[in-house]
Symmetry: C2
Subunit: 198 residues, 2 copies
Amino acid sequence: MAQSEIDRLIQLLSKLPGLGPRSARRATLYLISRRESLLAPLGQAMADAAANVKTCGVCGNLDTTDPCAICGDNKRDASLLCVVEDVSDLWALERSAAFGGRYHVLGGTLSALDGIGPDELNIESLISRVEAGGISEVILALNATVDGQTTAHYLSDRLLEAGVQITRLAHGVPVGGELDYLDDGTLSAALKSRRSMG
Amino acid sequence: MAQSEIDRLIQLLSKLPGLGPRSARRATLYLISRRESLLAPLGQAMADAAANVKTCGVCGNLDTTDPCAICGDNKRDASLLCVVEDVSDLWALERSAAFGGRYHVLGGTLSALDGIGPDELNIESLISRVEAGGISEVILALNATVDGQTTAHYLSDRLLEAGVQITRLAHGVPVGGELDYLDDGTLSAALKSRRSMG
């Protein structure tokens, strides 16, 4: 069959995380049945993103400008620097709208198992940024995994001499969470960091 | 933030079946990190598909040619016509490589609940095709759902006067299936249609 365009679309879609061959076929039919409203715009959006999205040379965020909109926004507090593993973590913090400083995206965590050392991550650029001055607090907003915490300890050691305050996110009960479903580590951390009411 | 290209990509991807906002964000980051190998080719494949994929005027299949490659293939048995609900069913039968005839895609099933009557489906074109002659058997390969079977009975009535043989797919135990996990209807159908061994 000369179905090259359709087969190619299925094959490429099935490479996306969360889509297998079956759901890629389903998505392809869905797209073709919405040619004007979805298929053509999505193709255009992908071409635009491929052409215009850059990695910010300062913080490692993805944006259409370099430096990115966050690094270029003078209303944000330049003395607060939040270190995250990936752009997805930066997006999550931005959605919470709880942070008004700037970011530094490491691009992963140290991992002996995967052979990822300090040179594979944006660590030197972080040290230079902090040593350049103007930053009073570095928040290590890394995942509460073994690799995330190893990386946090490593960064905390490296930043010791820069004379800035180094903090990490609080551990505790997630808002809306039920104690019965929490693991022992989270419960014991929440108990240790208990706060006086009102 | 001036993240329009990225936000637009996330927003459009989240409309695909099986992808929500979270997996659309994940897919977007995955795509941007594979700009040359996946993002740009996928954008191109979507543009190509939007420009070139047509619905076959004979059978309702999707292809880059009209009539489609199956209708245009003279090696296929023109006397066998397999009626399916959707293009995805046609693809499934083609993957099985068990059918050498031609197809007719209805575009759905009759459904009183969803207000889909005979005029909403490619039924008149099916009747004309069969009445035009040259077809000896019509296989109603519709889903074994209530709507699928209602549609099969309706088509069987409509095709009665055309003097062709009308068949349906066999019910039974799926190959590799375990009896313990099968519903009563399938088991009782498989028992009723039992075959002599060897």
